[in-house]
């Protein structure tokens, strides 16, 4: 199997609520330019592109077609990927396969979202518009919520259900969610590319009201405008073109059934079970030759739209035992200078340009491995293996990538 490495990352200068100074294609162009600057490459070095975002959020269909002239994609093979919240990583995985297949040697993966140009609530609610219609017609009081009614969980929806179930099964307390939230926002304050960057204490989080217990306002992620670009290359090209690379050694994804609002077809899954996480992680570890992830994984970047999810994913992905994550948190093991730094970037919880969010995870891992972090959240210890995780759909999709400081050895 051909080895593929990330040789460079480009971010938009900031991730903020509203970029009113640029339109969509200009914004994406900023990240593409940054990637070229950071790698000293030019468009001629790029063989092909992959491109992804959640397009209905901007009301723009197949945006790569408009963006072509603005991202140096003219006359280049291009493929568009779109898988909901996991889009960022799915797009990077597509770039990985373009190189691993031998078809191309250097591929640029472009991911982004400009949610200020759309209505995310509509975009998200639109996933289940027809199902919601049927439920209403069948007498369900969707938002008033009595009886067998309600999307339930209030405006945080199934995330609250997931949090309650997770707390019950893990033994963690609601205060642990507050603690994880404070840790990640404080991490984000060190990251110039994060959106919410205020140093945050547990008290700050607890001062926010509950929306749907156990989740508070302070536990939810922002919506951001921004773009993230990664350039991947084969081993030979990486040696020629780059001084350093973060090697993609494990790649996996898994899809469950749509576990929220699947009422019409029967929901058989606990939203906190997330079996695809275990399936995908095991596959990625095997591919990367990682036999003891609890020891061998040095850092994790997890897709956490809600603060409790960092703790949940650590367990579901096998980075710690079930019920152990909150104990690691209490010990300080999840801090940037701990044994298992988790979301040193602040995670999706601090920055969420949805189409790019699942790409920011491997991007941050790559920058950590290559020690090219701009900002003060560089993990002090050596990072040999990192786990990047993506999540999306109706609580159903999980993608996992393992990045390492060395390519896989031929068997």
């Amino acid at each position: 199997m051909r080895n593929v490495g990330i040789i460079g990352i480009g971010y938009t200068p900031v991730f903020v609520s509203k970029r009113k100074d640029v339109n969509i294609v200009e914004m994406i162009g900023e990240a593409v330019d940054a990637a070229f600057r950071n790698t000293n490459l030019t468009p001629d070095d790029i063989d092909a592109l992959t491109f992804g975002n959640m397009q209905t959020f901007e009301g723009l269909n197949l945006p790569h077609l408009w963006a072509a002239d603005h991202i140096s994609a003219l006359d280049k093979p291009t493929i568009r990927i779109s898988t909901g919240g996991t889009t960022g990583m799915s797009t990077l995985q597509a770039a990985y396969y373009q190189v691993a297949s031998g078809l191309y040697d250097v591929v640029m993966a472009v991911t982004w979202e400009k949610q200020s140009e759309g209505d995310s609530q509509v975009g998200l609610a639109g996933i289940v518009m027809p199902e919601a219609m049927v439920m209403i017609q069948s007498g369900m009081d969707l938002f008033g919520g009595r009886g067998m009614g309600g999307m339930g969980g209030g405006s945080t929806g199934a995330a609250s259900y997931q949090a309650t179930s997770y707390l019950h099964h893990s033994g963690a307390s609601p205060e642990h969610i507050d603690k994880m939230a404070a840790l990640e926002r404080t991490n984000a304050s060190k990251n110039p590319y994060a959106h919410l960057r205020k140093v945050t204490t547990v008290e700050d989080i607890q001062a926010t009201p509950f929306i749907s217990w156990p989740l508070r306002y302070g536990h939810t992620c922002p919506t951001s405008d921004g773009a993230t670009v990664a350039i991947v290359a084969s081993e030979e090209k990486a040696a020629k073109l780059a001084d350093n690379a973060a090697w993609i050694t494990g790649v996996a994804c898994c899809a469950s059934d749509p576990t929220t609002a699947n009422f019409i077809e029967g929901q058989i899954t606990d939203p906190a079970e997330q079996r695809p996480a275990r399936i995908a992680a095991e596959k990625a570890f095997a591919m990367a030759g990682i036999k003891n992830p609890k020891k061998e994984i040095d850092m994790a970047e997890l897709y956490n739209g809600f603060a409790h999810q960092s703790l949940m994913w650590l367990e579901k992905l096998g980075l710690c035992k079930e019920g152990e994550a909150h104990k690691l948190l209490d010990k300080g093991a999840l801090d940037i200078d701990g044994e298992l730094p988790t979301n040193a970037s602040g995670g999706v919880f601090s920055t969420n340009a949805i189409g790019a969010s699942a790409m920011n995870r491997p991007a941050e891992c790559a920058l950590q491995i290559m020690r090219k972090i701009e900002g003060e959240h560089q993990i002090p210890k050596k990072v040999k293996n990192a786990l990047a995780h993506g999540w999306g759909g109706l609580f159903q999709y999980v993608t996992v990538m393992i990045l390492s400081d060395e390519p896989r050895k031929a068997k």
Binding site: K20, V22, S138, D141, G147, S155, W213, E265, G266, Q267
Partner: protein
Amino acid sequence: MTFEMGPETRQVQGTWDVTTYKYKIDGGGMKLLCDAMKEKKIRGIRCNECGTVYVPGPTFCRKCHVDIDEMVEVEDSGEVGTFAVEMADMRGNPTEKERVSAQIKLDGADTWLGGTIEGIDWKEVKIGMKVKAVWVDNPEGKLSDIDHFEPL
């Protein structure tokens, strides 16, 4: 490193009217359920290969990838699978009273149904607690025929 946002660029309004779409949904399982509720009963579909009981029933089993149509009746009581306590509405305004909404696994079914729980302080609600449906007096064959769930 500081970034200064430049002057605002041109902006225009637009819409995406989702209601102009003509969707097709399989409502068979919902109809089976709603018809049953008129009789204060709950019915779903069972997969003969793996035994999974879906309420409402889809037309095929997602595990076995086969057509399924065996109708089964399940209990109107079960266990709390998970729950949340609504304290603010969609806009963020605090609600008058906390409302417990839950996902309940009815006895005999493998699926979780949404419902509200009343008759108990929200702080006493536990996962695994047994609850029972409280029906309206005159069911009409709608999901609202179950008014709420109460602890058993």
